[in-house]
Symmetry: D2
Subunit: 421 residues, 4 copies
């Protein structure tokens, strides 16, 4: 590993929790160079919802590459892009009655967010964007301004402006009515909040600690946006593509966002790709007003199309997620009950779950103990106090239960181990 | 093409100049669905320096994918990443005496720029970044603030701050001594320019119209930065990876930037990948202070390694670029001489060249006529007045000359055609 | 009045409510050119706490001017400034145990606020300043950023940044615990609120509609600031100099702000003058780091000294204010009780009171009817729904009661009058 | 002086150069408490163009105050304001053919500048304001952003945005054509300069070191503004009211600014007062959109009217200024010639002159030696390298020559004195 130390920046992070050099990957397993398997409850932070190297998707990808089909083509028309558009329209948009236009804003989630923010500001002629406590939307300057984490914000090196933070659902433990503060600010012309262009929200905050917004709160938020003509952006980068059960995480609540961002699992294979979706009437972009080199990642179009074909033409995956989600929830409750002294809470929806520790250092130890036992699982939340479970949606029930058992064991080990001073 | 109209955002752009649906690609040729070939003098805006689907790189990529090696792994350690780091160190950094640390800031060039700006601000504790007239550094909010184009800046929807624009080399046609204005501002505590964190510069401005900075100007700039303890960032996203002759575009001038950004051709295959390089002492990042989902694009590591192995272990490619560059330059001069009435200028370095028209609409017609004749070539510059030639570095002499002949013909056709009112 | 129409900007405002040309003034009365008297319940928006042209202060001022003493001297030492400093120290600071340094930041309240914000940011090295809903701190760009009124904010023509708005005491009608939101944001490193430099607060919001902060809330705020090492700025420009009973409006609550701004009545005679006070250890200004032309308004030093000598060397004025405040409150309750259909509320402290109407247009009519009857009284609040009473502190009981009777009558007249559609 | 040390903030500045306590003042003389006279070549930084306590103005002021006329009336109509408006229209605007509306933006120059910037941004809908190297426009956040001095900018504690600095006339010693850089930026849609709302300029930079813009440069600037529909703001706070010869400093050049700011000597007596003038069509303010407490300083209206009546109803003062200006210039040249080793330059217009030293510490010593000899004169310029002469316009020829002789002597003394290491 010497070469990483010598050449790679100190900014590297996950490798510090999991000091192994990974080489192969298949389904829910990663393997280090010695062939040691690791059960993956992290799934590329939600980028591998269908597991590693899914065989059907892989076949399509290799076929495509073998045929010398175009790999890079900026935003030129390509057969691969057309196929993706057609499939996305047919499989995702039409059945849900969503009349969205699709922008390919660049390869990463932050590109999707930056494009969404720019479009919302251009369309409304306003600057302020409302975001929520413990939101995570990306590391580029526009996206970072609507991200909550103070360490990451500090990395900007300039003040982050044109944004205002509001309490996420249940932020103050029910001590104040839902959305009262935001509504009060909007109603009052003397509140000091400049009329916002948009609200950006995750329905479940992944990096923020698996904070789940209730359908009621989301509907209240959508109504408030409509009432004050503020655009509603759902950032579905981590929670979209089935993570919470349905393809879009907001389906359960019945709201229809004005703008939606997708990335991570949209390519189905871990390849960089991102989408910004918006209502047809919002498509006020000038040609080329937002551009970039990697807006036409054809291999990702191919794998993305394959993923939609494989998993979203019927409701089998959705049903499976529900069943597996129940398994996770039950097991997490069991772990919580086993350790009353830890004051554990459980949170989650679909296959995004969190085990919340009072003391962050215990959460950290649990992950460390899990790694020793061959389970990859990470913390999130403002104090890294939440063990976050994001298994592949395609994980087998056996592997799921195996992983949860390791987690239970790791919790026991962590709590028995002498704690750091 | 109806599906593009119906589903893709109006922001799409290149497809408007080249109304074809591309499907296959090989070397310097793209093919539309009917199999019609197009000679590519655009090379993915500099992302395909080694042509489309280079066979050796392709073989490595397919082998990798076939073996179920890890495709997505955030910033975990992987064998593919190690191999890329080792090769980049051995083939690029060591021979050039560059003691840089490497950051994988995300998949796109704008991620590399955003990370560079953040690091420069964090390291210096200052906010202002100097950029140059007609600079292009990307569409995310931090990168856009140091980009010159007014249409793209307008897309931000918020004022773009913490930046100051300075004249690029020869901006005012020799009517003022090099760097006099910047030096005056820095010398004068009453100038109104807050002490900058960094200067960000392209040695040849691609989007800006193939504006070439002289080695003397670059050295003057580097000296000024040193004198005032300002970090020098070279954005080598479009002009790196051999485009100007050497691997880094700044080698000819002898300067050693504090920070370098790379993307586009670094993967060698058109796959999204970006690097931020910086002097060892600048590596003040906290772990995870800048993060993102696609920082470990293993397939791109594999193709990037293959590209370095194939092209940069000896100086054959560098020599070839020089020879081909001379061919381009000679032919462009010929075209200019053929049309004295057009007042044509030629500019360029390595295999980045521009044919500058007085009237932008003529440049536009030339590209249109070229497309009709099977040549892909695009305009750049603030008024789109420059026909920009970025052929693959690996193009055969025959294809190069063929393309230049088409360009000559297109120029003739464009100037004979009745002009738009 | 033609000359005003022709030459004065449309920005003029109070003259629209009170279409008279005023000429003389004495105590609580203004007189128009025809000699018609107006009882003044506005007192220069709190700038004339001791009434118009108070005879003792006037004598001192004229003596000073007659003697050819220095009138303008920037921040040079002058005998008049020394006398003011000595008196302010002796009469105000020492008896209250306040070890403040005094800055003369310029002639207007906004200068005092700008200096306070600059000093707080310089001292802490942070940027964000917390302000409150319906706050008013001034029209210059720094002060405007912490002001709530949307019309006035819109006048900036640029986004107003480096500030965050929080709920003032009782903003959400007791539906949420005091200061819970601010405390939650400060506690949570993922909240999205960058650590603030300072909090700026009015203990009673004058322009905001006579919103009175309770002593408990102010103490809670001060404690929170101390806990998180945030500077507490009390803007006492309108509510200082005895308006609420004590010299500083915060005395009742027992808090000791880090920084205090004073202006308006500090000169005692309506002459432009402002002070920024701060704890000795905060005096980190470089000489001349904040400057300006009118920082040494000697005539105002003289009148200010006279006012302190006349009114603040004993507690007679304080006691009087309390008595008169009770009279006002009783009368306002009476008016409210007389008009149950109007849903009137009363608010206030000392001699700052508000009669709150549900329908702003009624409040407006009341002021209009009062003017017709020779009483000057204005509205405030986000919708101009509050009739604001700021009589001189020195008003006679007879005049006070007379004014309140006119107000009662005006209310009757306004509610009988046909309402605008 | 102990009381100043103990109670006044470290920010105090002029008192450090002139350690005396001033008490009386008359014409061109200030007197300390011991009655020691100081000849004033500073004139309140241009606030006392008619000297201290001018007898005719004083008489009017005392009459006004004695009569219990209104002193403070916000922006209500008053007889004193009407009289000022009428006189300003009649004496200043009409004869010069200027159809300006008048705004009373607050008592200080910075209020006039803030109002000008806000109005320009509101009217144009743009944000950026162009200012010049070594400009000084004030200490409030909006005005500070267009001020050059780095120490004062640093006091803001936040980045200063929405502004861009350009070279003042002759900034680069004739090495570049006038206005070439600004014109280039405006012409080029890729320059990175967002289209400006306004340009703000001083025709002679006082704080910046008596830098004189030529009439040609000013006309070129005005033409450029017209061509690009950018508003031209002349900040005449220090150089207006006759300082350069004519009432407005821009008259000589023949330009007609869109907006003009006045303060300092406009009240004629050193009382705080400021005006923002603008072309009638720019008066797009909403009533009350910019407000403030001290917008109706009646005593200053009275003294300002008296000053206009006394000095501007004929051209005697203008002629005198020219004569006295020649005297100053001749004497400064003499001093420069006497000290060839110092490389002195002289600059100036009207009665604003500068003696420019190569070494700032010599300029400082000259002022110190002058003070010892009873002459008040201060430095300006980015390095405080310019001895700035701003005598009262009404100074007698005898006093003027006396002061210049002291300056000559002080220069001799300073250059003989051992220099600081």
């Amino acid at each position: 590993m010497e070469i990483f130390d010598r050449l790679e920046s100190e900014v590297r992070s996950y490798c510090r929790s999991w000091p192994a050099v990974f080489n192969e990957a298949k389904g829910s397993y990663l393997y280090d160079e010695a062939g040691h398997p690791y059960l993956d409850f992290f799934a590329g932070a939600g980028s591998l919802n269908y597991g590693h190297n899914h065989p059907e998707i892989k076949t399509k990808l290799i076929e495509y590459l073998m045929s010398d089909a175009v790999v890079h083509s900026l935003d030129m028309y390509s057969a691969a892009k057309r196929e993706f558009l057609r499939t996305f329209g047919e499989v995702i948009l039409q059945p849900r009655g969503l009349d969205y236009k699709i922008q390919f804003p660049g390869p990463a989630g932050n590109n999707a967010v930056e494009a969404a923010l720019k479009l919302a500001r251009k369309y409304t002629g306003r600057e302020t964007v409302i975001s929520f406590t413990n939101a995570f939307h990306g590391m580029t300057l526009g996206a970072l301004a609507v991200t909550g984490n103070s360490m990451k914000r500090g990395g900007a090196g300039v003040p982050l402006n044109h944004a205002a933070t509001m309490p996420f659902d249940n932020y103050m433990d029910g001590q104040t009515p839902d959305l009262l503060w935001l509504r009060s600010l909007l109603e009052d012309s003397g509140s000091g909040l400049d009329k916002p262009a948009a609200v950006i929200v995750e329905t479940v905050q992944g990096e923020g600690g698996i904070n789940v917004a209730s359908p009621e709160w989301l509907r209240g938020l959508a109504d408030l946006c409509k009432e004050y003509e503020i655009l509603l952006i759902v950032d579905d980068i981590q929670m979209g593509c089935g993570r919470t059960g349905s393809f879009f995480s907001f389906e359960e609540s019945g709201i229809v966002p004005d703008i939606v961002t997708l990335s991570k699992s949209i390519s189905g294979y871990g390849l960089p790709m991102a989408l910004t979706l918006f209502k047809r009437e919002l498509d006020v972009w000038e040609p080329g007003e937002h551009n970039g080199t990697f807006r036409g990642p054809s291999p990702a179009f191919v794998t993305g199309t394959a993923a939609l074909d494989t998993f979203w033409r019927d409701d089998r995956l959705e049903k499976e997620i529900r069943v597996k989600g129940d398994i996770v929830q039950a097991k997490l409750r069991e772990i919580a009950d086993e350790h009353p002294e830890l004051g554990l809470q459980t949170r989650g929806r679909g296959l995004a779950h969190g085990l919340v520790f009072e003391r962050p250092e215990v959460a950290d130890s649990v992950c460390e103990e899990a790694f020793k036992r061959g389970l990859l699982v990470e913390t999130s939340g403002p104090e890294d106090e939440v063990v976050k479970l994001l298994p592949a949606l395609t994980i087998s029930t056996g592997d799921l239960e195996r992983g949860l058992d390791i987690l239970a064991e790791a919790t026991r080990a962590a709590t028995k181990a002498p704690q750091p001073a």
